[in-house]
Symmetry: C2
DNA sequence: CTTTTAATTCATCACCTGGTGAATTAGTGG
DNA sequence: CCACTAATTCACCAGGTGATGAATTAAAAG
């Protein structure tokens, strides 16, 4: 009695295992972080042989990078922001952030946050992304000494990262369930002060 | 020729392996997160047999909890804060946070942050600590409808968590290397606004 | 001094990890 | 139709994982 074996070889067209693997990876990395997720778990979640993961990606690191890298293009998300006058930029920034994080990229973004904060080795990745890809755009055209502009950027980042963490990762209520408009009204003034406000104590 | 074997049995007094294990655990959890750290690595770092870890702690979870739980007592740290008038509380809060995170508890705290943010399962722990142990004290005596006070507390948390992450975990410069006084002057106003300021849009 | 208790080491378990190489099958280009 | 390439499965490997139980030794308690 030959049991119905799983046939080897190429599937009949229409399968997209690669995408399934990426989706599964995003989901698991988002839930359990980088170290907490195994290739086999990913394969299982994607209903795929573990070896496929290696077929499509060189290893766990590349899988992480691919599944998580640019879950959204910063340039695109911040397109509008960059050319607004710095003095009224905050609201647009907060809105862009919220819209992005509430969209389809959420899984990938949370995965990125968890994986990247979870270990010293990967924190560098976060630092790079935040400062190069994001802050440079957010702070474009802000006047003042370089050092001061960098500090302002760091402060913007601190409030933004904190907001994201509280709302999407840690999920503090009622912040997590507040409306987008409320959040904008509540935190945009903080951001605006960091960008152009009088910080009165900057050496 | 009997090689000098490592003697079994109890060490001659003065050894404190338990403490060594906890210190090693704090260090490694801080660097590599919960999943990224193995019991054997901890044992190696502590120069101790792996089985000792099980002797002193039931398992990895208990080790994590013990090494990281209350790296500092919130009640103590926030002792002064609680009884200040809410309208001038912000500066004290920021100063307390910075002092705490720059003290000997830093390793444990970073470990807590990394381990706790790194996975969904452990995020609950962070939520509990933040809301019960910390926010309840920080927001003690603030007037207004419950829901609104909670929201204010969440906002305080968002800025505080963001500051900690940017300064101690991600290490964004120049924020990471700014003086304690500068940081206080820069972010205390934000916190103060969240505690007692006019948020003008609270439903 | 003797009994009890605690600290330490060792050998071992079953399992999971990331990774490799080959065999098998299907679609594709010529 | 045939050669080629890519997708898929399988059978492994060496090593690390958390965990357990027993043996050994010293300190503490009586």
């Amino acid at each position: 009695m030959s049991l119905p074996q799983i046939r080897r070889g190429r599937r009949s067209a229409g399968d997209h295992s690669r995408e399934a693997i990426l989706a599964a990876a995003r989901k698991l990395f988002a839930e359990k972080g980088f170290e907490g997720t195994s290739l086999r778990q990913v394969a299982r979640e994607a209903a795929v042989d573990p070896a496929m993961v290696h077929h499509f990606f060189k290893g766990k690191d590349e899988l992480f990078a691919s599944s998580v890298e640019l879950p959204a293009d910063p340039a695109e998300v911040l397109a509008g922001v960059e050319m607004m006058d710095p003095s009224v930029r905050a609201e647009a920034i907060v809105r862009a952030v919220l819209t992005l994080w509430e969209g389809p990229a959420q899984h990938g973004l949370v995965a990125f946050a968890r994986g990247t904060i979870g270990s010293k080795a990967k924190s560098g990745m976060m630092r790079e992304v935040v400062s190069r890809a994001i802050l440079s755009r957010v702070m474009a055209g802000v006047s003042g000494p370089d050092e001061q502009v960098l500090l302002r950027g760091n402060l913007v980042a601190s409030q933004t990262v904190g907001l994201i963490l509280a709302r999407y990762v840690i999920r503090l209520d009622p912040l997590a369930s507040a409306s987008q408009d409320d959040v904008v009204r509540l935190v945009a003034p903080t951001i605006q002060r960091y960008i152009t406000g009088d910080l009165d104590s900057l050496k």
